[in-house]
Structure formats: structure tokens, C-alpha cells
């Protein structure tokens, strides 16, 4: 049936149309909401159409890694909650959730989004650890872009808790923001047949040939990429996909 579905979707694409009436290069309605959870130091809810993702940022004081004694650390985890799709099961993280976490993590890291040197409190002993948790609330396609956008928004929303040198008081939140230099957004461009498009629905995700997730900063710099799907892509494809991603990244950045 996937063959039939693929053929049918391609027939629509020939006419430049998609199942929900959008154009190929059109995103669904994107909305960003800040400060949605009580206990996280920073949080954001992102909706792309019916897809809904919440990201939360926790800040903790930890010992920095031995190879970077002067820098704080970043950790990103993603969980695909069973409530968000009939296809998701409870249990240990699967390939998809690990990929989301890694791609989002790489985007933030390679964009040098956070000035990690400023997170250092005591060289080699104490530094702030930035821990991001991504939870899917509803999955209607394009979780990757939603997760990346939610993470960027949550980082911007985060405030340090008060710290007296020994313990962190999570009840007292200061006004100090994270040392953010620039924020990336991710755009996943899908290739199906000869067509490229963005913001896939679940049906479209089931029949893709290849996909390329591009993380781009607000100034238009590409900082990370991830290719998925079974089909190979040519250098020309990559050029076209990046061009589309860059245009869409500009739109998404404005939502932050």
C-alpha cells in the first residue's frame, strides 16, 4: 500500500498540491509559546499544525568534563510520549527519539549557540550543565523541526536559579539569562521523486525517499546537517534543498 500511497501523493505533487491543500514549500501554521511549565528553568511549546512539542531546560551545577574544564555542558534528550501517536510505545528510547535528540543537540552545539565558557563557575570543579528535555505531545509529522524550534525557544526562555556557592535554590529564579550568542532553527527538506518539500505530514513521512535536516542560524549560517531516508541524493539535490531550507529558516526564526 505504501507503493500506492507514494504513487498517489506523487500525483498530487505533479500538480503542486498536498493532501491538506498546502503548496510544496509551505509550512503549516507555526506558533511558539514561552514558559509553559512550572518546574523547568526555561520552557516552550511549539505547534506546527497539529504537531505539538514541549521543550524544557533544567540548569544544574556539575563537574565539567576533564577535557573542557573551563566550560559548562549541554545535554539534550527527547522522548516520544505514547500519548502523542498510536505508533509510539513506552520503553527505552528508540532510533527516532535518539535521532531527534542528537540532531537538535548538534544544531545547538555547532551553532555555538551558548557561550559555554560563561557557564563555568570554578575551573575543573563546578560549571552549569544545561539539560534540555524534549517531549512530544502530539505527532502529526515533522517532529524534528518542531523539537529544534522548541529547544531554541526554551533556551531563550531559561533563567538561572539562585546559587550560593554550595546549593542551587530552584525556588528562587534570578533574572539572569543563559549566555546565548545565536540560536539555530532546523528545517527538514524532504525529497520524493523529483520533488522537494518541507514540513511533511505523517502520511508523507511514511513514503519519503530521502530527507535532509539543515540547522541554520538567524544570520543564515548553516551549522549542521543530517541526511535520512533510503534514497541517495545528488550534490544538485543538496543545493536545492539547502536553498529551500534557508528560505524557510528565515520564516521560522521570526517566530522565535
Amino acid at each position: 500500500m505504501n507503493e500506492l500511497l507514494r504513487a498517489h501523493i506523487l500525483k498530487w505533487f505533479e500538480k503542486g498540491k498536498r493532501y491538506d491543500g498546502r503548496k510544496l514549500d509551505e509550512f503549516r501554521l507555526v506558533s511558539v509559546e514561552y514558559g509553559v511549565t512550572k518546574n523547568a528553568e526555561g520552557s516552550a511549546r511549539v505547534k506546527i499544525g497539529d504537531t505539538e512539542v514541549i521543550a524544557g531546560v533544567k540548569l544544574a551545577v556539575e563537574k565539567p568534563y576533564p577535557d573542557t574544564p573551563k566550560e559548562g555542558t549541554l545535554m539534550v534528550g527527547a522522548e516520544l510520549l505514547p500519548l502523542s501517536s498510536p505508533d509510539f510505545e513506552a520503553g527505552p528510547p528508540n532510533e527516532e527519539s535518539i535521532e531527534i535528540a542528537r540532531v537538535v543537540d548538534r544544531g545547538i552545539r555547532e551553532a555555538k549557540a551558548i557561550d559555554t565558557k560563561k557557564l563555568c563557575i570554578d575551573e575543573g570543579e563546578k560549571a552549569w550543565a544545561v539539560i534540555v528535555d524534549i517531549c512530544t505531545i502530539n505527532s502529526a509529522g515533522n517532529l524534528l523541526d518542531a523539537a529544534a524550534l522548541a529547544t531554541s525557544a526554551a533556551l531563550r526562555n531559561a533563567r538561572f536559579p539562585s546559587y550560593n556557592g554550595k546549593t542551587v535554590d530552584y525556588k528562587k529564579i534570578t533574572d539572569n539569562k543563559l549566555p546565548i550568542v545565536r540560536l539555530p532553527v532546523s528545517v527538514t527538506v524532504i525529497k520524493l521523486g523529483d520533488h522537494i518539500f518541507v514540513d511533511p505530514t505523517v502520511e508523507e513521512e511514511n513514503v519519503i525517499d530521502a530527507r535532509l535536516t539543515v540547522a541554520i542560524t538567524e544570520s543564515g549560517k548553516i551549522c549542521a546537517m543530517q541526511k535520512g531516508g533510503n534514497a541517495p541524493i545528488t550534490v544538485d539535490d543538496i543545493d536545492r534543498m539547502i536553498e529551500l531550507a534557508a528560505a524557510k529558516a528565515g520564516e521560522l526564526s521570526k517566530k522565535l
Partner: protein, 234 residues
């Protein structure tokens, strides 16, 4: 000493006592608890003589004998196929009911139906344990070819079909799509992309406005206008 505890045509919630006394008989969505009749789901109460019935406002599809539905093959077993029928329960299509052809012992069943195939099928029996048996023998029951699958709320299906199929025929005539509406809320469409898109938009419109009176006229006006736009666009 029988009396209704809530007025006819009122909206009741699960657990609400709707009538007292032995003169009323519970049917769909209502059960008896001693002297009282109690609603088992959210819906509109309808009293027809002594019968008390409930028209559900929401909820998943409940399989019923005789329903023609659209299902998807999710498993190929030793002696048949398991079908997802957009319900809490799955249905079983046995080899005997699948085809008139003779199937040899140990034959490859995926030759007939395979994973992900959509079929139009009919429910022949639902047991008390909610095991659902279906058949492919009957007029119009077949494997579906390329097309678009959309799901609508199962309780809106009667409105989408209309009286004697009037509503769905109207959409078919106006858009030129082939449409099959399963009682389980799964709809199969086939046509040109623009036509399909219009048909789906219309289905969604019916779904959201089915409770407002004058639905047929409004849908007719909507279809006429949209088709004019399509023609003008060409």
C-alpha cells in the same frame, strides 16, 4: 410506575440515570441497573415508545453486524488476515470468506491481500467477546486500488452518507470523485487531486456542521461555488 428522569432529546453523560421503572427498555448505549436505566456514554437521549436509545456524540467505532466498512490489512496469519477497522477491536478475515478461489494448503496468502492493503468489507458477526468476523463476499466488496484515505468521526457517517446516500452522491456528482464511505469512518476517494481536495474539504465541512439544520442546502451551495472557482481557475 415508569417515568423519564431527564427530558427526551437531552444530552446525557455516562452514569446518568435517565429513566426509572421496568416499563422502559434499554437499547444502544443504555443499560439497566435494577429499576433504573443508565446511560453508558455521552450522547443525545431518544425515547421511542418504550425504547430508550442514545445517539453518541463522540467515540470510537463499535463494530455492528451488517456494516460495510473500510479496513486495512495489518497482519497475515496462518489461515487468514487481521484487519484494522478503526475501532478498539480488530477484525479477522478468514480464508473461506476472502475469495471464491481455492487456496491450497500452505499457499502464500500475501498473494491475495498483503500488509497495508485497504479493503471494503462487511461485518458478518460480532461475538459477545467482540471478536469481529468479516467477509469479502458480496456486492462491492473488494480490495481498493490507488486512492486517498481519510478518517472522519464514525458518529458523523450517517450525515455524510445522507438519506439513501443522497449526500455522498451529491459530493460524487459535483466533484467527479469515486467515494466509498465505511461505517467505521474510513473514507476512500479517487479522482484528480483538485477534486479529491474539494471532496475532503466538503467531508470536513459536513463533519463540523452536521448539527446545524439546512445542511444539505448549505453543502450544495458550497460545492457549486467551489466547482465554479475550480472551473474558472482552469
Amino acid at each position: 410506575m415508569a417515568e423519564l428522569l431527564v427530558p427526551d432529546k437531552s444530552i446525557v453523560v455516562p452514569g446518568e440515570e435517565v429513566a426509572a421503572g421496568m416499563d422502559f427498555l434499554p437499547t444502544e448505549g443504555i443499560y439497566r441497573d435494577g429499576e433504573k436505566l443508565v446511560a453508558s456514554r455521552l450522547g443525545l437521549l431518544v425515547v421511542d415508545g418504550r425504547l430508550v436509545k442514545l445517539i453518541p456524540l463522540s467515540g470510537k467505532y463499535l463494530p455492528k453486524r451488517g456494516d460495510v466498512i473500510v479496513g486495512k490489512v495489518i497482519d497475515v496469519a496462518i489461515s487468514g488476515w487481521r484487519i484494522d477497522i478503526n475501532s478498539a477491536y480488530t477484525a479477522m478475515l478468514s480464508m473461506k470468506e476472502a475469495t471464491a478461489e481455492f487456496i491450497a494448503r500452505g499457499a502464500d496468502l500475501t498473494r491475495y491481500f498483503t500488509f497495508g492493503d485497504y479493503i471494503v468489507t462487511k461485518i458478518v458477526n460480532v461475538t459477545s467477546q467482540n471478536l469481529v468476523d468479516i467477509t469479502m463476499k458480496g456486492p462491492g466488496l473488494r480490495k481498493l486500488s490507488e486512492g486517498m484515505i481519510v478518517t472522519v468521526a464514525p458518529n458523523k457517517v450517517p450525515r455524510i452518507i445522507g438519506k439513501q446516500g443522497s449526500m455522498v452522491s451529491m459530493i460524487k456528482d459535483a466533484t467527479g470523485c469515486k467515494i466509498i464511505v465505511g461505517q467505521n469512518g474510513v473514507v476512500w476517494l479517487q479522482g484528480e487531486p483538485e477534486q479529491e481536495l474539494l471532496a475532503v474539504t466538503t467531508l470536513r465541512k459536513i463533519e463540523s456542521e452536521s448539527h446545524i439544520s439546512g445542511l444539505t442546502d448549505r453543502i450544495k451551495a458550497f460545492l457549486d461555488e467551489e466547482m465554479k472557482k475550480l472551473q474558472a481557475g482552469k
